[in-house]
Amino acid sequence: MALKDITLGQYFPGSTVLHRLDPRTKLVGTVAYIVALFLAKQLVSYGILLVLLAVLIAVSKVGLKAIVRGMKPVLVIVIITAVLNLFYTSGGGTPLVQFWIFKIYPEGIWAAVFMVLRIFMLITCTFLLTYTTSPIMLTDGLERLLGPLKRIGLPVHELSMMMSIALRFIPTLIEETDKIMSAQKARGADFDTGNLMQKAKALLPLLVPLFISAFRRADELATAMECRCYHGGEGRTRLRQLKLRGMDIAFLAGCLTLCVGIGVLRYLGL
């Protein structure tokens, strides 16, 4: 089992325009793109969104390979969605293909194609966000963006702190899992054979020490944070200041235009 291959929110350092945009701008942009994606109904809208995405990928210099690699885990879901759309969409005319209880209409093919496209585009645009934004900037941006929600009692600072600590400890805990697995294997544990039930059972002696150690780590980290004068979000300053610059404003204006534009196209039935 290659635990080291697990990547969550992988970040590719760089200095392109997309990298330099404020994380808040990028978060809003991603949401705007997703909204536009769900507003899109017909070929023209999809075409615009697809071209836009291609341009953004080219600008980010992330490389298609990284995006394709990231798609692998969702491939099964995409195929299932496509197949379901293919068979369950019924059109008015005669079916194109018919066998046993299955009927495929032209509308079904369109629905399947659009759905697959939509999922791929949705995932690609979130990849662009996480590939060009460091996790710490992302949590920072999220904290600022959700800041106003503090007033209705949402613990925004605590949530973003938890998120960044979780991100910080993922590699540490993966390393630890590897170590415990090796220790268990050395004593004859078998993680790889047997049916699903047996495999799940084999994980138990792995999870128990992992949880115990995670709690111990949490306790020590809390003490270390207290020693460094942590006392919640109040009165806290930040090393990195987030500033909206000209290009952020331009980007946000672009996002707004995109949503409105796709909305109009939907209304026009394009």
């Binding site: 590699p171 020693c227 460094r228 006392h231 090393l239």
Partner: protein, 292 residues
């Protein structure tokens, strides 16, 4: 070196246990640590040395007696932040004290908590990283660093608060020999060059030997206190509380037990060799170095 930065007065601490019998960990500790000094606290497991350390910045509060940090009573909750920014603390496991996933972000954590303005945070972070010689790693991810490097980042994270005293609780216990040497060098430089008071909790004799002052703990009490050279000569006493002495002194002590006339206070290999040389040349009247 005139004023006490940390002062404990008849400090007692007991953990409440479930059976109602309190477990006494510290049993009347009176200790004064002078500003600018380098004090090692040595003790066997369970001697109370870590518990004592946790009292020095109000992580634990005394159940009897009192602890003063720069004149502030640690039980005074209103001064908590002032106490913690005066006495920083570094722990054993570097992994469990690094908060952020970029080195410089982690070092910035304490000044951020203290509400220091951003430009000043930047200055402090750069300075702290240079002091521990980790400046070129400022944009690295901590989990890709070696143990010694991680521990130095943890030290930088504490000195970015500009504390006047640093307490290190067995900072080298999880490190390999190279990492240990790196961390010790950093601690010494902090003490000598920046004048930070250092309290080093340890069970390594060779680390303790580098301090100006050595405090030996056993059973929740201070059993010896003085210059390392003087304390280590009390071999029988140290052995009785489960501690060994540096190998050089061990050797000389055995020679002495065998009835030979050697001094006991050799902390380094050279001093020990010198003592042996004098012994041999006095006995046989010929050079020691010539036939080795």
């Amino acid at each position: 070196m005139d004023q006490a930065i940390i002062k404990t007065k008849d400090l007692r601490f007991s953990y409440p246990s479930e059976e109602g019998v309190a477990l006494l960990v510290l049993d009347g500790v009176n200790l004064e640590i002078q500003q600018g000094s380098f004090v090692a606290v040595l003790g066997h497991n369970g001697s109370g040395k870590s518990t004592l350390a946790k009292h020095m910045n109000a992580i634990l509060l005394p159940t009897g007696g009192a602890v003063y940090v720069d004149g502030m009573d640690t039980a005074d909750e209103a001064r908590l932040l002032d106490i913690r920014r005066t006495v920083g603390m570094v722990f054993q496991n570097p992994d469990n004290q690094i908060v952020a996933n970029v080195v410089e972000e982690d070092v910035a954590f304490a000044p951020e908590n203290l509400g220091v303005p951003p430009e000043e945070i930047r200055r402090r972070v750069d300075e702290a990283l240079r002091q521990v010689d980790m400046y070129e790693y400022r944009e690295h991810a901590p989990h890709l660093l070696s143990g010694g490097q991680k521990q130095r980042v943890a030290i930088a994270g504490v000195i970015a608060m500009r504390p006047r005293c640093i307490v290190l609780d067995e900072p080298t216990a999880m490190l390999d020999p190279i990492g240990r040497a790196e961390v010790l060098r950093t601690i010494q430089a902090l003490n000598r060059e920046s004048g930070v008071t250092v309290v080093l909790i340890t069970h390594h004799m060779d680390e303790a030997a580098q301090a100006d002052r050595l405090v030996v703990m056993a059973g929740g009490r201070i059993v010896a206190d003085g210059a390392p050279r003087a304390v280590f000569q009390r071999v029988e006493e140290l052995k009785s509380v489960g501690l060994t002495v540096p190998e050089t002194i061990q050797l000389l002590w055995h020679l002495r037990q065998a009835g030979l006339d050697v001094p006991l206070d050799a902390l380094s290999d050279e001093e020990c060799a010198q003592a042996l040389f004098q012994l041999l040349s006095g006995k046989e009247g010929k050079g020691f170095g010539s036939d080795s």
